[in-house]
């Protein structure tokens, strides 16, 4: 079984966001970058399938040179090969999807895993974009996956429940928390990942059809009314919610 997995590098979720001088992006100084947390579920599932069915796992990342770190993390978790596609300048989701699709197309993978969404721009669109570009079925927000011969059966989370889907392969799967428990790399795999080569390519598609015109930080809320007298303030709170906030 040949499995591809797309991994991206994102600021750690505890990052305090500051803006760059041009107010078009964040100031990356001092920011720690990690593999996108959802992509860890994707890599783990890919590696588990390889362990069960044999085959190989190929990690693909598109972005600045730093994105190679996401591939290194995938190596530590058990990926066999890595392909890094270098972006030329800023890119939007469509540009990323186009370049990922271009690379994936030649891999002949049975399953292409993604994370459900990347936690930088929170778009959650690239898996279906790549699916559409490559004319492959796509299923995102997957919490359970079984392979039955040539058929893949999955559960997908929706509001207040789940959907049970069936697809042929090749298929695109977006991993949601709950799919598995990503492993912690051991020291040996961390050491081994350092010297493992990564194939490098240049972006074949450039240009963006959307443009960020401004980035801003959320307005700081005026300090709320915090009551200090414990349970004796309950009637006051209810009064405020009813008469001032008018929410109950």
């Amino acid at each position: 079984m040949k499995i591809a997995v797309c991994v991206s590098l994102v600021p750690d979720s505890t990052t305090k966001v500051k803006l760059s001088n041009d107010k078009l992006k964040i100031d990356k100084n001092g920011v720690t970058f990690i593999i996108n947390p959802y992509d860890e579920f994707a890599v783990e599932e890919a590696v588990q399938l390889k362990e069960k069915h044999g085959g190989e796992v190929i990690a693909v990342s598109f972005g600045t040179i730093k994105s190679k770190d996401a591939i290194k993390k995938a190596y530590q978790m058990g990926a066999d090969k890595g392909i890094f596609v270098e972006a030329s300048g800023d890119f939007d989701s469509f540009t990323a999807a186009k370049n990922l699709a271009e690379t994936i197309k030649d891999l002949n993978a049975d399953i292409i895993f993604f994370g459900k969404q990347s936690i930088d721009y929170d778009s959650s669109v690239i898996p279906a974009m790549v699916g559409e570009i490559l004319n492959l079925p796509y299923i995102n927000v997957v919490t359970k996956l079984d392979i039955d011969g040539t058929i893949i059966r999955v559960e997908r989370e929706i509001e207040g429940g789940k959907e049970i889907l069936e697809s042929t392969m090749p298929v695109i799967i977006g991993a949601q928390k709950g799919l598995n428990n990503p492993r912690y790399p051991n020291l040996r795999s961390i050491m081994a990942s350092k010297s493992k080569p990564v194939e490098e390519k240049k972006a074949s598609y450039t240009g963006n059809i959307t443009e960020v015109t401004e980035m801003s930080l959320p307005a700081i809320k005026g300090t709320g009314k915090i009551l200090k007298n414990g349970v004796s303030d309950v009637p006051e709170l209810v009064k405020l919610l009813r008469e001032e906030a008018k929410v109950i």
Binding site: S13, K16, L19, P37, Y38, D92, S93, F94, A97, D120, D122, S123, S124, V125, I126, A128, M129, G131, E132, I133, P137, Y138, N140, R156, E157, I158, E159, G160, G161, E163, I164, L165, E166, S167, T168, V171, K177, I209, T210, E211, V212, T213, E214, M215, S216, L217, P218, G224, I226, N229, G230, V231, V234, L237, V238, L241, R242, A245, V247, I248
Partner: protein
């Protein structure tokens, strides 16, 4: 010439609130851009369900019968997202709609990416604001889990936008509704388009989902044990609210993942969010900071949750929750 199409979702054959928000916004946008707008719903709902849309200013609505559409698949099929994407794209193209609005619901999110590619649209997902500036549409959306906002401009005549549910106002205004049924055979869809087939939808009955709720009561590690969540449930009940949870209590197995609010859980923007025994870690705030009214109950006066709370009480959840439940029950809401 611009022409707006809003994709309207139903659940249990009734239009969702997010669809009312969408049609409201489509109507306002069409007035500002001086262009036409219409709605499209691919649904099994009967025509009488559509009258609810007219209360929010809907006029022209196209309807595609989901059951008739599914017959084309020749299989046992609840629906297929790729097929629905193609239906919407073909319909939009054939009728010159170049601005498409979706709701960023589980359904909307699943097709946003593919629909943008199929319609050659510039895309901005999950927006919380939209404005016209010198004739250009400018959409605003939260990024970095709400720690920043970006304004996005579209360098294309084809535009696809999804609206975060519960953020835009569904404004009541009467519309002169006309429903046009589209023959599924005109849509250029064949059996092979039905891929990634949904075989079954399993809903946890009777439970209001955090992502759809207008009021939420959430509990965290401050509740100390899973059985104490009855305090959360009791308050939620008198408020008609959904119950939510922090990741700490989901990871501990006290609450299901479907209740988790935050960066790796659900993003919510209810009109009332009550956080009980939740410290307010940045990843939790990521999921609820756009709530309209935030109430915090925490025994630690320095808990970060108080920094974004509109109201709060410093105190013990075990005392405050029962008292609050009784007090709100008296109001009979």
């Amino acid at each position: 010439m611009k022409k707006i199409l809003a994709i309207l979702e139903t659940k249990d054959n009734k239009f969702k609130n997010s669809s009312f928000e969408l049609i409201s916004e489509a109507r306002k946008l069409s007035a500002e851009l001086k262009c036409e707008f219409a709605g499209l719903s691919i649904t099994a709902a009967e025509d009488n369900a559509f009258t609810s849309l007219s209360e929010y200013g809907a006029e022209k609505i196209y309807k595609i019968d989901l059951n008739e559409l599914n017959k084309i698949s020749g299989k046992d099929c609840v629906f297929s997202y790729p097929a629905i994407t193609k239906v919407i794209a073909n319909f939009a193209k054939a009728n010159d709609f170049n601005i498409i609005l979706l709701s960023a619901t589980a359904f909307g999110k699943e097709i946003t990416g593919s629909l943008s590619v199929k319609t050659n649209s510039a895309l901005c997902p999950d927006i919380v604001d939209i404005k016209i500036d010198n004739g250009d549409i400018i959409a605003t959306r939260p990024v970095y889990a709400g720690k920043a906002y970006t304004k996005v401009k579209f360098n294309s005549d084809n535009i696809l936008i999804s609206l975060r549910p519960n953020v835009f106002k569904a404004e009541k205004i009467n519309g002169n509704l006309s429903i046009e049924k589209i023959d599924v055979n005109t849509l250029n869809i064949g059996a092979s388009d039905f891929t990634a087939i949904v075989k079954e939808v399993v809903t946890s009955t009777g439970k209001l989902d955090v992502a759809e709720a207008d009021r939420i009561v959430s509990g965290g590690r401050g509740l100390r044990a899973p059985e104490n969540f009855n305090l959360i449930e009791n308050l939620a009940k008198v408020l008609g609210a959904a119950t939510g949870a922090s990741r700490a209590v989901v990871d501990a197995g006290w609450r299901p993942h479907s209740e988790q609010v935050g960066q790796t859980g659900k993003t919510v923007s209810p009109s009332l969010y009550i956080a009980c025994g939740i410290s307010g870690a940045i990843q939790h705030l990521a999921g609820m900071s756009t709530s309209k009214c935030i109430v915090a109950i925490n025994k630690d006066k320095d808990a970060p949750i108080f920094q974004i709370a509109d109201y709060g009480i410093v105190g013990d959840v075990f005392e405050i929750l029962p008292a609050l439940t009784i007090e709100i029950e008296k109001l009979n809401i």
